[in-house]
């Protein structure tokens, strides 16, 4: 197993770890905002790690470029949808009064 393959595996594994963390947060956190917090932050990083790992694994610059686009688009979609969900939640009065 070459160094790059080891690196790729490590990246993929850590990416999965972030996804697991994000999912646990989604399931366990109490309200919309903390769930969004857990989901978007952890998943974006997880996606980045997995894309990098896959790019390393493939060893092709073209595929690396495509994966970069995938990551950016995922990032954008996550940002905007997170914003919209949070906005909707605020409007509909789900914001807890500050303790």
């Amino acid at each position: 197993m070459s160094l790059s393959e080891v690196m790729a595996s490590l990246l993929l594994l850590s990416g999965c770890l972030f996804y697991v963390a994000g999912t646990v947060g989604l399931l366990r956190f109490p309200d919309v905002f903390s769930r969004l917090h857990a989901l978007t932050k952890a998943d974006n990083l997880g996606l980045f790690l997995i894309c990098t790992g896959l790019a390393l694994h493939s060893g092709s610059l073209r595929i690396a470029g495509l994966l970069l686009i995938v990551w950016i688009l995922g990032l954008l979609a996550a940002t905007v949808s997170c914003h919209l969900i949070a906005r909707r939640a605020v409007r509909s009065g789900q914001m807890e009064p500050p303790a």
Partner: protein
């Protein structure tokens, strides 16, 4: 070994989501479960070496169908649909047991028959691989869709057209609130995202179209991606419902079906067999027409309005 484990996880996930679609009390939750079910199906197509299907399932099966379900849900709610009604009380045992019994019996029969019937050699699929070059494309699925079984694809476009005609026929008079409305129009982030995503959806659609000859992709996947861009424009109020279908829209709706038929008829008029597309250029011509019709039909079905126009 890892592959097998992944297949097991996927299969379990698919079955779990199917069960949830049927069992969850809230109809809304069931819809969400179904949409995720579509996404996992798409992954399983990829595992089964059917990337064309993975693309189609993700774009059409999960994406467009999901959007249609959610927007219908929203329309039902907007019209005062009582949310309580969406809760399904647990059906009685007398109803559940026989249907479950019948369904499991059928499952056993399907499994048993599928294992009993031997896969025979010399199938249509093997022939398709052997004679793929004669069609002029190297992606076998495109070869079957536009070459060997082009007639199916043509009638399938008629089905899509019929769905739009039917939806228009049963719709009542034009309702201005047919679209979900510009709820998020004023959010600046959405505008920025749109100006990026809609051009990308066009780009991806064109890419999928041209890739379809040699790689996974084609008119259906491309059309669905383009339709997704249109759906976004509707959702954000960039496109709004018009009271009538414009001439251009009408032309777009029938473009795929009529170009496909006319090319086929022209070939026949020239002495060839009906629907034998003469080479790759004809396939791309037909696929482009199909893409336009598919995208437009899907967006209009989503909008549930006779037509669309740019928001003033």
């Amino acid at each position: 070994m890892i592959g097998l484990a992944m297949d097991c996880v996927l299969a379990l996930g698919i079955v779990f989501l199917a069960v949830q679609t049927v069992r969850s009390r809230s109809l809304f939750q069931a819809m969400l479960m179904f949409i995720v079910f579509g996404l996992l199906m798409s992954l399983s197509w990829a595992r089964l070496h059917a990337p064309d299907l993975a693309l189609a399932e993700a774009a059409i099966g999960a994406g467009i169908t999901g959007a249609l379900l959610l927007v219908t849900w929203r329309r039902l709610q907007a019209e005062g649909h009582d949310p309580v009604e969406s809760e399904q009380s647990a059906p009685s045992m007398w109803l559940t047991l026989p249907t479950a019994g019948a369904a499991s019996l059928l499952v056993v029969i399907i499994g048993w028959v599928a294992l009993q019937l031997p896969a025979v050699p010399g199938t249509a699929g093997e022939l398709a691989w052997q004679r793929l070059e004669e069609v002029g494309v190297s992606n076998p699925v495109t070869g079957v869709l536009l070459g060997f079984r082009a007639y199916d694809t043509l009638l399938e476009m008629a089905v899509l057209l019929a769905a739009w005609l039917g939806a228009r026929a049963v719709a009542t008079e034009f309702r201005p609130g047919a679209l979900p409305g510009p709820a998020h129009a004023e959010v600046p982030l959405v505008g920025a995202l749109l100006s990026l995503v809609v051009p990308i959806s066009i780009l991806v659609a064109v890419y999928l179209l041209q890739a379809g000859g040699s790689a996974p992709g084609g008119a259906f996947q491309g059309g669905a991606v383009l339709a997704a861009g249109g759906v976004l424009l509707c959702l954000t109020g960039r496109l709004e419902a018009a009271a009538d279908t414009s001439g251009l829209e009408r032309l777009g709706l029938i473009l795929g079906l009529s170009v496909f038929s006319l090319v086929g008829l022209l070939v026949m008029a020239g002495g060839g067999p009906m629907l034998a597309l003469p080479g790759a250029w004809a396939i791309y011509l037909v696929e482009t027409a199909l893409l336009v019709s598919i995208a437009l039909t899907l967006v209009l079905l989503f909008a549930a309005a006779p037509g669309l126009r740019r928001a003033s």
